[in-house]
Amino acid sequence: MASEQRLTQVFVELADTLIDEFDALDFLSTLTERTVELLAADAAGVILTAAHGVLHVVASTSDRAQVLELLELQNDEGPCLDCLATGRAVVNVPSDRFRARWPRFSAAVEEVGFRSAHAIPLRLRNSVVGAMNLFCHADSPLSDGDLAVGQALADVATIGLLQERAVRQAGLIAEQLQTALDNRVLIEQAKGVLMASAGIDVDDAFQLMRAYSRRHRQAVKDVARRVVERRLTEADLRRS
């Protein structure tokens, strides 16, 4: 169990990385390093969920831990996946049950010299954003105190990740808003170009672009852009 003073230092360090320029990878690297130190584990790694349930290994304290996590993903078994599915910590599983539940994963763990593995969720309310894996050379169980510290560290990580995600999504929406406005203007301009060059009315101009976009499976805004740039003429649009 870590000293209280050291624990406080680590939380201050993690909180500091949450402000200003937040880098998720740097942040999670710090998290795994400090977790290994504070919980007397030998290696740690983080797996994050992304869109469509895809998992990514994003940080680990050693190559071996990373190898194991990759194996875990490939084999579709292991404490980390159970932890992600339930949102609960998977710790101190007795070795016989460990082998029975995850045969290939436990074999891989032992092969690289670890004796035990644990998983702590990164979660906020109903949202599980990932899990942290701990690997130990000794078959030593985590104490309740260790688990509390581990979960507290994971909670800080979760808030950091959710904040970063919210900021990133907002930025994405801001860009989409700009693009949508530009497309709207571009389509109107393209109607005007066709009206002038082909002598057709505004509705026919739009129908012409829309029919072409359907035939060629291209978005109307892309067709409009090429019309405004004069790379597509009325004759091109009518040609089937």
Binding site: L181, K191, G192, A196
Partner: protein, 236 residues
């Protein structure tokens, strides 16, 4: 002082589901600040603009003038990405938008504050606050103005988050229908005068300014063929 969250709650719970949120925000903001007019404008990095909300007819008129001239405090704030404040337009104050300033004075506006709408470093447009009495906004009203600008950004994100990436939310798209004809005339004139769309829009604006007519009117005249802004020889 109302916070951004309080403003958003007040607007979204007003039960006026048929009125677009940007318009409600402008109405609320004009009321909270006791000012003559408030308007909200989108602007892309490419310079395309769309007036998406106004507190009433005066705000609509002021934004139309700004759009027609292609100059004004809202556009300046959007481009410069910082607040533009002029507390007395009646004095011999030099603004970067003299034509807009005199037009605003003619409408009884003597002071204006324009706040850029920004999100994650991306400029989205501006919120314009028009006043009929001169003098700076005090600290309290300045804070309120910025809270409304924050709420305006919140509304934009809220609306656009429900949409497919490349289409505008109806509340943002519908106000654009009125000026669609200007963009059509821009494309039309670009072909007839053999110029780019940026120059074509400048030609339209220059003619509207010179003849003291609305840009939308000039655009309709150009599209109908009643008005030629291009040399005869280039016509076929």
């Amino acid at each position: 002082m109302r916070t951004m969250a309080q403003i958003l709650t007040a607007i979204t719970t007003r039960g006026e589901a048929d009125r677009p949120l940007p318009e409600l925000l402008c109405v609320e903001c004009a009321h909270a600040l006791s000012v003559a007019a408030v308007a909200m404008t989108l602007m892309s990095e490419a310079g395309h603009q769309a007036v998406i909300g106004s507190s009433g007819p005066l705000a609509s008129r002021l934004e139309e003038i700004q759009f027609d001239l292609g100059e004004g405090p809202g556009l300046e704030a959007s481009r410069a990405q910082h607040t533009i404040a002029h507390d007395d337009l009646t004095g011999a104050v030099l603004t970067p938008w003299p034509s807009f300033a005199s037009a605003a004075l003619a409408e009884g506006i003597v002071a204006v504050t324009a706040v850029p709408l920004r999100l994650s470093g991306v400029g989205l447009g501006s919120l314009c606050v028009y006043r009929s009495s001169r003098g700076p906004l005090d600290q309290h009203r300045t804070a309120t103005t910025h809270a409304y600008a924050g709420a305006a950004v919140g509304i934009l994100v809220h609306l656009q988050d429900q949409m497919w990436p490349e289409t505008l939310h109806p509340d943002l798209d519908e106000p654009m229908v009125y000026r669609a004809v200007v963009h059509q005339a821009t494309g039309f004139l670009a072909v007839k005068a053999s110029v780019g769309t940026v120059d074509a829009l400048l030609l339209l604006r220059a003619h509207a300014f010179a003849t003291d007519q609305a840009l939308v009117h000039i655009a309709r005249e150009v599209l109908s063929g009643r008005l030629r802004l291009h040399p005869e020889a280039d016509d076929d």
